[in-house]
Amino acid sequence: MATTVIDTSIPHLQPYVPSPVPATVQTYKSTVWGWLTTTDHKKIGTLYLFTALFFFLVGGLEAEIIRAQLGAPNRHLVSAETYNQIFTMHGTTMIFLAIMPLSSAFFNFLIPLQIGARDVAFPRLNAFSYWVYLFGGLFISIPILFGHGPNAGWFGYAPLTTKAYSPGVNIDFWVLGLQILGISSLAAGFNFITTIINLRAPGMSLMRMPMFTWMAFIVQFMIVFAFPVITVALFFLLMDRFFGTQFYEVTSGGDPLLWQHLFWIFGHPEVYILVLPAFGLVSEVLPTFSKKPLFGYPVMVYSGILIGFLGFGVWAHHMFAVGMGPIADSVFGVTTMLIAIPTGVKIFNWIGTIAQGQFKPTSASLFAVGMVALFTIGGISGVMHSSPPADLQQTDSYFIVAHFHYVMFGGSIMGIFAGIYYYFPKMFGRMLGEKLGKVHFWLTFVGMNLTFFPMHFSGMLGMPRRVYTYDAGQGWELFNAMSTYGAYLLAVATLIFIYNFFKSKKSGRPAGPNPWGAGTLEWTIPSPPPPYNFAVLPTVTSRYPLWEGKQADIESARINQQSGKSAEQLGIVLPYGTIKPLLVALFMIAMFSGLIVGHWLIFVGAAAMVLALYGWLTSPLEPEHH
């Protein structure tokens, strides 16, 4: 770095050149009340990040218990009932409380910064989304501590979830919890769509948007279209369980396949909701560390959109053993194969981004490359069960567990880790330790493969999923032992990451506005960004303003990257903080809890929620403009 040539007239704005290391980090301290009432998208993003990392650890602990139990045959560390609650909550936690909110952390933090906005379109709705997520997450997670956790799998197939076969409160918490979490996702979805459509800086045309924002944009549409379907499915179940309707009651002629279709019409797009944000993050990381723009940007956009569309037309590939008949099996088999094409294009374009570039292996870029490598394996095994007859041997076996962990862990989590290492300096103003970061990467990479690769074998050698134990002599011992040791290795890797994270947050090297020499808009402002983000709204003339921008880009970047002034000094109006979104969320949870606790609470909760909502809607968002 010492050899870099810095243009003294506009320092640190030379393409690909990291900004100099500042002596100190400008921090924006906040009180507890400040966090509870915040409407700042960056603080909400930070709340999402910490909450989701907490739930990631919870889900990881559940995974470790699962692996400890399955490390050897006929092991009974936990009972069948407990195991079933744990695997149900492992899936539910990782999908709804860890990966989705980790993506939300980036949506919140990054989208306004990447499009040159001062906040999201609806800052208070944004706070509401977070609080609903937090309370909903606790609502669904706490029962397992009392032995009453949800226990029908994250997919909750009817009729197992009906009152007849699950009379306890376990499923009640699951139904209501998912319903609550859906509200959070939908509110956030509408918020981000509005933000991206309306709040882009001058010149930030859709085809100049950073790839992460593009993928986030697609994901929000998928959320808005997919979540109403699960809402309906859950509402039917809720009515069945609490009010005696018979949507899924088989004794009354209900059809269990109704649930399966509704669930997977949501459930398959959900897979892309989980993985597209990681695609976006990797598409930010690889160009920066290759010093080269993203290869085939338009195709990356179109393939993302295509994945979004096709993602809604493949749901029944989760149901090839159901006996839908040859025509349905053929159609869903072929549409599933088709989705491999745009996904493959993305992988090739990432490789094309690195090719002929100047690839620098950092924690962020290693996680990004690891993501491409591992997601490829998940993609290949995905094509393997797109063939319905072949899937009859694979479905509901450990082969599927291997497949989707290569997609969810190898794809989503590795991509999110790449994003965390890459954006940590922007979020906290300090670098996330590189040395431990690389240890974290290699342990994760090896541990991940050691855990999940052998599952391909245990599955094809006949081991069913979701079994709390298995008998000796079935030929599965070795592979399960490998998986278990791999899981222990992942636990070590994660603990190293957590240590590194908090140590770096406190005393990492100060970052400066653009520590990586990156090209997009979020790197033109200080780290961490001031509450108003941009002192002047930027004018955008290219996809990488700091790499290929014209005079206008450089001018606004010059002002923004060194602004130390307060919002008042700059005359920027920011939204008030308010407790009301939190209150509305809290009372809404109380209202839902009434179905379990007692019907009086429904009315009390609803009344309180309406009052709080009235207060919210009648109080101004921000001070009057001058």
Partner: protein, 428 residues
């Protein structure tokens, strides 16, 4: 450093290769492998699998190879170099869109062909077996031969078997990895899967599993499929059609029971006076000699190893009286409320597994425990501790019922349990 990285990147590949070799070398130790199919359907699937594996391996090697190559080849060596700023390459991007599409065509065509072949109606002369999944056991009916059994079926080699799948409660899924793929058993639906077991395969046992999560003991919902020669099958069928009875005097019992646990029942029968209830007026030597896979031929993997729970105490030295057991079965034990024994007009319960020939089965509790005296006695005494969530009530006196969370004051004494065990073991 770079070599080190490359080595570590290649490590999973190496592991995969070693595992693949290990698999090929000792296929014998993988009793549930889908790679060694023993039916026409299994081979159709295996053909597709091999094709998927072939293309998958090529794609894996090319993509991962390209990724490793670019990461090493274009590694940054100086901070000063700014690479050429390419934004894309249209011809290249079209190429890597079309090549996967072409590969997928090679997968899609045989896939669709196989779907229509394997999902056509089963051939007319198929052996129909009605399979009903229950929490957590399997009911099997042979409508052609008019008998029912549970958790263990025999099928003849070379004849197409058409499984008609239903469920008595929640969704289950039927899977015998070595014979065929899965098919769900869904309430209010009737599903089919059919296949022809190879005529040249061994007379042996295959493990089957429930593969749709169905509640507490989903992990213990196994079954056994025994593939036998047609003459053995005919003999087995005639035996299954015969009423259940406990062993008459030892002279007759001996040929009936070539398997290991028989002596226990035989000695008990010898030690006790002739039963008060007429044992089985229709029993004939031909039926006694009927075919059951000898215990010595049951492979190790088909014999459950689940350990006995410590919580249930039972004195295994107690000798049971099968005649007393039979009375208990329809009397104080109330077994007949749920279980049938063909030939006993009082034992026609429909809720639990049919026990007509339970004594000849390899396992109890849907493949969870081996079918012997220590396991069967504890099962009768307290099934709910033996297996999570089961309907089978806790029958032993003074036993704690984990479902109702109460201790039974009434119930069977250990001697009564031993009598029931003797009776059930005699139902060969």
């Amino acid at each position: 450093m770079i070599g080190n990285h490359r080595l570590r990147r290649l490590a999973p590949l190496g592991v995969a290769a070693v595992l693949a070799l290990a698999l090929a070398a000792c296929a014998q130790s993988y009793p549930n492998s889908t790679f060694t199919p023993h039916s026409d359907l299994g081979r159709s699937i295996d053909f597709l699998w091999n094709r998927l594996m072939f293309f998958g391996t090529i794609v894996f090697v090319l993509v991962e190879g390209a990724l490793v190559y670019v990461v090493i080849r274009y590694r940054r060596r100086s901070e000063d170099v700014i690479p050429p700023q390419t934004h894309g390459h249209v011809a290249l991007e079209i190429t890597w869109t079309l090549i996967p599409a072409a590969i997928l065509a090679f997968i899609a065509v045989p896939t669709v062909r196989t779907i229509f072949e394997t999902q056509a109606p089963a051939p007319a002369n198929s052996l129909v077996i009605e399979v009903t999944g229950h929490q957590w056991w399997w009911e099997f009916r042979y409508p052609e031969y008019k008998f029912a059994t549970a958790n263990e079926i025999y099928i003849p080699k070379g004849r197409t078997v058409d499984l008609v799948l239903q469920s008595g409660d929640v969704i289950h899924s039927f899977w015998v990895p070595q014979l065929a793929g899965k098919r769900d058993a869904i309430p209010n639906h009737t599903n089919h899967i059919w296949f022809t077991p190879d005529s040249n395969m061994a007379t042996t046992v295959w493990n089957g599993f429930c593969t749709e999560y169905c509640g507490d003991s989903h992990g213990e919902m196994h079954f056994r499929v025994v593939t036998v020669n047609p003459d053995q099958f005919a003999s087995w069928v005639s035996h299954q059609q015969a009423p259940g009875f406990f062993s008459p005097p030892p002279a007759v019992a001996a040929p009936a029971a070539p398997a290991a646990p028989a002596p226990a029942g035989a000695t008990i029968a010898a030690a006790t006076p002739p039963p008060a209830v007429p044992a089985n007026p229709t029993a004939s030597p031909a039926q006694l000699a009927s075919y059951v896979l000898p215990r010595a031929q049951v492979p190790e993997y088909a014999i459950p190893h689940t350990p006995l729970p410590d919580a249930i105490k039972f004195d295994d030295r107690l000798q049971g009286d099968p005649a007393a057991g039979e009375k208990l079965f329809v009397g104080a034990g109330t077994c007949n409320a749920c279980h049938s024994v063909t030939g006993n007009p009082l034992a026609v319960g429909m809720i639990g597994p049919n026990l007509t020939h339970v004594g000849s089965r390899i396992a109890i509790a849907a493949g969870m425990y081996v079918n012997d005296k220590p396991h069967l006695s504890r099962w009768i005494k307290n099934a709910r501790i033996m297996k999570s969530g089961v309907l089978m009530p806790t029958l032993g006196k003074g036993q704690y019922d984990p479902q109702t969370k109460t201790t039974t004051s009434a119930g069977l004494s250990d001697q009564q349990v031993a009598d029931l065990v003797a009776y059930l073991q005699a139902l060969k």
